[in-house]
């Protein structure tokens, strides 16, 4: 018996998933709560930032201290930037992004649905959208300015174009979400094509459309700074760019945080909205 391997050595877990507590499922990738780690990670990041600047290892010109950025924030909130009140910078940028975003949704969602529903529409618009989609907005910014001038139109149009592609493609892909049984069920109750579109396909596509809108508005904020590069006198992107030219690094960092905060806040709102209107997402 002694030359037989021991059961414990046979069953020794090598390279197995970790054991789980009741309520968890064995082997689910990435399972577990992350809240405390995330909080710790954020605190750690700020602590490191503060420590590096406190020790004077990096010049404030390159990395100003967290306190300096916070101080700059209150300073700009009180006194404005380039004689324009801070709230106006915020309002202008937010209006540009959300205005362009809303127009892009109003155009992109019906266009995407139409492309999903009709081979004619798909044939016409697919090559056009796929052609311009991968081009960086900065590359066609000069064209926008040549065609539409340096006013508000070219700025909003630039952001609009960057949001349009993901929203359209999301709506188009969403058309495929309706199961053929759902569509057949509607037809067997005497539904018209139009009724099937609005009462079956559109609601089925909503989860994908909402995800596409979240991705789209992210693209919008990404394009904002590019849109405010030329002939802007206000806006958060303008503020960041101008501050960088005057080496006001604390304003640059502050502006980045403000943009991130607005975008994150809106994403939270969209997630809440998603839970409210498509609570069935992924559950049927």
């Amino acid at each position: 018996m002694t030359d037989l391997p021991n059961a414990n050595t046979i069953a020794k877990p090598r390279g197995k998933a970790r054991p789980v507590k009741p309520g968890e499922i064995y082997g689910v990738p990435g399972q577990g709560d992350t809240l405390w780690l995330s909080i710790l990670s954020i605190i750690g990041f700020f602590a490191l930032w503060w420590f590096v600047t406190y020790m004077g290892w990096v010049k404030p010109l390159f990395v100003p201290s967290p306190q300096a950025v916070l101080k700059k924030f209150f300073d700009v909130v009180q006194n404005g930037f380039t004689n324009v009140p801070f709230w106006e910078h915020m309002a202008v940028s937010t209006l540009r992004v959300f205005g362009a975003f809303l127009i892009a949704c109003a155009v992109g969602i019906p266009l995407g649905l139409a492309m999903g529903m009709s081979p004619v529409m798909r044939g016409i618009f697919d090559p056009l959208i796929e052609f311009y989609r991968p081009i960086p907005p900065l590359a066609y910014l000069p064209l926008m300015i040549i065609w539409f001038g340096i006013g508000e139109t070219s700025k909003v149009l630039l952001i609009f174009l960057s949001v349009l592609a993901p929203v359209t493609l999301g709506a188009r892909a969403g058309v495929k979400s309706a199961a053929i049984e759902q569509i057949h069920a509607a037809y067997s109750f005497g539904a018209t094509r139009w009724q099937v579109l609005w009462q079956v396909i559109f609601p089925s596509a909503l989860p994908e459309i909402l995800t596409a809108m979240r991705i789209g508005v992210g693209f919008g904020w990404t394009t904002l700074v590019a849109a405010e590069m030329v002939a802007a006198t206000e806006g958060l992107g303008f503020m960041v760019l101008t501050a960088s030219q005057f080496l006001q690094t604390s304003t640059v960092i502050m502006g980045i945080f403000v943009i991130a905060a607005i975008a994150y806040g809106f994403d939270m709102l969209m997630r809440w909205f998603e839970r409210r209107i498509v609570p069935w997402k992924g559950r049927m």
């Binding site: 759902q182 057949h184 069920a185 109750f189 609601p203 609570p279 559950r283 049927m284």
Partner: protein
């Protein structure tokens, strides 16, 4: 009311370097009021193709489908379908799912809820009237699907393996429920199943189909559902000598088909 499948054949065109497939050959079938026709057969025998023909989701290559002497050109409210799964609208609650067909037909809200509530009661869904469908169990969801199909008062009820996804106990209860409802509504039913026992228990007529090409090879008249509806217990019916003898006979046919395929 009568539905005639008149010498219908379906040939799927060649695709992906495969030759054309003859899915159904020369099917003749009549379904009348109060008929509960069950289709049984090895996989690939064309049961679902036949249901799609009757529903109007597919046109026959030759032959025709006649409903009250009018050729079937497409899907319509006179032929409701109960699907195996995934056919409810998760954004609607139970009562709105049941009333969905009436909504599509433009029936005002109060009127359609009145009809829907009748079938919600009939299928024992009263306590779940406003529940979201994605929170219901599979058996409950299937009841919603049946109630929805009944609200439009179809002439023919088409059921494509409606109980296939249910566990054994729920399935037997659902069989009895469907028979009871059929007995109160007197609809013509076309019912597809993989289970020989379910087929024998529920049908008044049984068609056994064979693959390559899909065709009807055997027809039986069945007494068992009437015996259940006359008051005999389901288990007693299924344990009777006639039931078991016929079950073995049908199993024999189906196994022979499966072996011929393998």
């Amino acid at each position: 009311m009568a539905l005639h499948v008149d010498h219908a054949s379906v040939v799927f065109p060649a695709a992906d370097r495969r030759p054309p497939t003859e899915a159904l050959r020369a099917i003749d079938l009549t379904i009348e009021n109060d008929d509960f026709v069950v289709a049984l057969g090895a996989s690939g025998c064309g049961k679902s193709t036949l249901l799609n023909l009757i529903a109007g989701f597919l046109q026959p290559t030759t032959g025709q489908i006649l409903l009250d002497a009018h050729p079937v050109q497409g899907p319509g409210a006179d032929r409701s379908v109960v699907f195996q799964k995934h056919a409810l609208m998760p954004w609607l609650n139970v009562v709105d799912n049941v009333a969905f067909g009436l909504k599509l037909q433009g029936v005002p809200e109060a009127a359609r809820y009145k009809v829907a509530d009748r079938f919600i009661d009939l299928l024992g869904l009263k306590d779940f009237r406003t529940a979201p469908v994605y929170q219901l169990s599979g058996g409950m969801q299937q009841r919603v699907g049946i109630a929805r199909a009944l609200t439009c008062d179809p002439k023919v009820l088409l059921m494509d393996e409606p109980l296939g996804a249910l566990d054994a106990l729920t399935r037997e209860r659902a069989q009895e429920l469907i028979l009871t409802i059929w007995n109160t509504t007197h609809k013509a039913v076309f019912f597809i199943t993989h289970s020989v026992e379910e087929a024998l228990f529920m049908g008044t007529k049984l068609i056994v189909m064979s693959p390559r090409p899909g065709r009807i090879t055997h027809r039986f008249d069945l007494p068992f559902s009437r015996r259940f509806l006359a008051g005999e217990s389901a288990r007693h019916v299924k344990a009777s000598a006639e039931f078991i003898a016929l079950r073995e006979q049908v199993l024999e046919i189906i196994f022979a088909d499966e072996e011929a395929a393998a």
